[in-house]
Symmetry: C2
Subunit: 213 residues, 2 copies
DNA sequence: AAGTGTATCAAACGTTTGTTTTAAAGTAAA
DNA sequence: TTTACTTTAAAACAAACGTTTGATACACTT
């Protein structure tokens, strides 16, 4: 057995742990996720978590990957034209990462959990992921409504946009009970993105008018 | 000692338990709240929870009170004029109940927690409180945008409004780290309500235009 | 004064949690 | 084969959880 094969084999446990952890954490949150279920799904011994990582918390931190979210900002900044269009594209892509169950969106769902239920790693998440994309949207809003908007009002505009998006995930337990038939398939996400986009652009235009009458 | 005095005295423990439970549950959520801390704050023995109520979950159910929230809908329906005005009033009063730290809003905060972190009692909360006020806002939106709106689009409009409001509570751990100086005092809540109101009315107007061009 | 039912208490119960231990199995170089 | 090192395994760890127990104190009725 070659060295590479050995590496890939010994790394298998670690990789399976990471994959299983992503699923379990995103389904149950950090607190409710148990190391036993993670190990069961990864088909490794229970001691593996503390062997490869040092703790449940470190495993959680290792599952975080901010790149897809940050890449989203860069992508939108490149291939688009006016600020309005870029905001619409961002909302669409963001919702895709946030809601699509089939997509590789576990990363995003995992982080979305933390907004409501803080863990010791939340500080890092805010600093490296949430703050940048909030700033990114804030810049877009600035371009759309003009520079004269106050800092507080700018903040509220950003919150309005993210609030609309996040509600579909934060409020999912409720939404599922209110509308049991509702599924986040591709078509539904497109419709949601279109709605939030138009809703928000109109809202921003109104705010802009208020600021400089 | 008369019977009434005895009753009021023996009820003291029960009432103190309820008051403490409301605080602890709203601060930590159902899972993270411990019966020991509730009893410590209520200054009662640890066995009191299972003596007066039957379980931690039953205690939690007993802390729920949907009246303030439902009363809000009735109040808005009475003393207001046009649908737009009523929506603005609702958003304002709702945010007051949801955010004001000094107000007696623990009830609302307690329920807001459950939106993201479901408990066995969530079904009751949705049925008795959330569904009615969602329906209430849906009716307002219908009045504003006209009857021709589709059921799905109507739902998204309601979600947009609630999403904006709830983000200030659901995302509080994040918001606190993003804007450490931000406090939900009376003035700030007024500003938030004004923002969400104008933002949403403009959004609704846009949606209405889309439906019947 | 004896009896009855309620309220409170410290202590322990049985689980479940994340983590650690200790030993065995496997792998590669000497 | 021997040696050194890495990886797996079962079992147990201490801590925290919600809950239950059994005894005690109290107020009220008979």
């Amino acid at each position: 057995m070659t060295a590479e094969t050995k590496n890939s084999l010994s790394e298998q446990a670690r990789e399976r742990l990471l994959a299983a952890a992503r699923v379990v954490f995103s389904e149950n949150g950090f607190q409710n996720a148990t190391v036993r279920e993670i190990c069961r799904r990864a088909e490794v011994n229970i001691a593996a978590i503390n062997y490869y990582f040092n703790s449940k918390e470190a495993l959680f931190a290792a599952t975080l990957n901010f790149e897809p979210l940050l890449a989203l900002c860069k992508k939108v900044n490149k291939d688009s034209t006016c600020a309005q269009e870029r905001l619409l594209n961002f909302i669409h892509d963001f919702l895709m990462q946030l809601l699509d169950e089939k997509e590789f969106s576990v990363q995003c769902q995992l982080m979305a959990r933390e907004l409501a239920e803080p863990t010791p790693v939340l500080g890092k998440i805010v600093q490296e992921a949430i703050a940048p994309i909030h700033q990114f949207v804030a810049n877009l809003v600035c371009e759309i409504v003009g520079e004269k908007i106050s800092e507080a009002e700018l903040r509220r505009c950003v919150f309005s946009i993210f609030g609309q998006c996040m509600y579909y995930r934060h409020g999912q337990p409720v939404i599922q009970r209110l509308h049991p038939k509702l599924r986040y398939d591709h078509r539904e996400i497109e419709a949601i993105a279109k709605h939030i986009g138009e809703f928000s652009l109109a809202g921003l235009k109104q705010i802009a008018q208020n600021q400089c009458p």
